[in-house]
Amino acid sequence: MTDTATEFAIELRGVTKKYRYFTLDKIDLKLPRGQIMGLIGANGAGKSTTIRILMGLVHQDSGQARVLGHSMPAEQVAAKWDIGFASEDMRLYDSMTLGWHMKFIRSIYPNWDRAYAQLLLKRFGLRAEQKIKGLSHGQRVKSALLLVLARKPELLVLDEPTTGLDPVARHEILRELTHVMADEGRSILFSSHNTQDVEQISDQITFIDRGRIIDSMDKELYLDRWRRLRLEVPLGIELPAFPGIIGLEREGRLAVATSNAFVPDLASAYESTGARVQRIESMTLEEIFIANVEHSREEVEV
């Protein structure tokens, strides 16, 4: 095993996959071990394709994918012993009980933790003897997650696990994922278009749009660097394009500047042009995501 393999749970280099109407374009992505990465993108952005390549279910046309040190898709069998994968569109066997599924997974994975499985049954309010077809959507998602968590995987890959869930179920699942991370060696890649969920549990954030990674960094850095400056600008003064400003909207005397590399000097720079800084606002992850996507699309179109 190389140093890189031990350092990163996931490593994608220049991964490209072409479909007729969609291209996943030279994806570079690194998830250090022991971290949670939120992969945020709109529907059709390429989250699921990226995850399927990571799981060896789709073969990339070019580029390298390594998961837990294994080259994908060639070494997918070895890698999948230590990966727990659940996706929004994954279903269990309707005619069988949750208990049957637990027995089935237990027969395959020697790491299956019976006590933890029982604990999860209780925490998620599930009954092993109930057939899958009688479960609500939330209970099905929790069942799938129970089957994944109780096998104690090194890496959890979750493709939109909270989509369509009520707030209580979402909270239960996110809380459980936080518990999982108490074990420092474990890593999670968590895709979603719900930025609130991602913001709640992630260490790293990656934005993906139209098949391209548009930004990827530490969550705290994102929240630190992105700011919205509300300005009052006397008529006749043109605001210059300062470095770190990715969007500037102006209406009469009022302007809003969006920065992805905010430093306090930026406010002074605007003041020096004659503008008055009314307010400097922090941005939510959702606002950052939208601003990032719009900026990226403008760049591509230019």
């Binding site: 069998v77 070895a78 727990g84 994968f85 269990l92 066997y93 309707d94 049957w100 027969s107």
Partner: protein, 224 residues
Amino acid sequence: MNGPVIGHLVLKDWRINRLLISVALGVGIVALVLTQSGGETPRLLGTVWFFVVMCVLSSMLPASVIVNERKKQTLAFIMSLPVSSLQYSIAKVVSNWAMFLVPWVTLLISALILIETRHIAPRGVIPMLLILAMLPLIGFCLISATALVGESEGWLIAVSILCNSSYWFVWYLLARIPSLTTHWTGPVAIWSPAARTVLSGEVGLIVLILALTLFLQSRKRDFI
């Protein structure tokens, strides 16, 4: 080869489809009982049921075991386990074949025993019975291959219709080969060169379809 996991997948398919197998076996046995209950009509009805069970099972098993896994979105769950797409395909071929062969072999052996002991038909019919019984097996093989490689319910239905409607035509063609039909009312089973050639051809065709299925599956780049 990851045998234990493949084994678990095969057992899983068995557990999920055991009702279907039991029903097929039950109806097949009823059909065989009918053939020896006396009278021309029950015998004809039993014979028709016997082949209908084989034909229906040859379409229903691939639909239930393979296509439903995609349709009901349980494929992602199975592919999250430590198996490759080729190993998954091998598991599907093994479980599907085993599930079909259990009633097929049971019913065929039962028919042979009834011919030998209860004389429900002359022994001379045995080569033809085997040749005819191989047709649903070939159909099953082709339908399973379509289900695995084609990944679509539409293709499965089209090939099922094609197979089920062509059995009768192929039987008609086989019945026109004199060296196959000359001895079928005789007291002894005679394995004429024509009978041996047709049987070998049927077995060869099955092997070819199986090899082609696994070859095509191993070349797939996108599995889900």
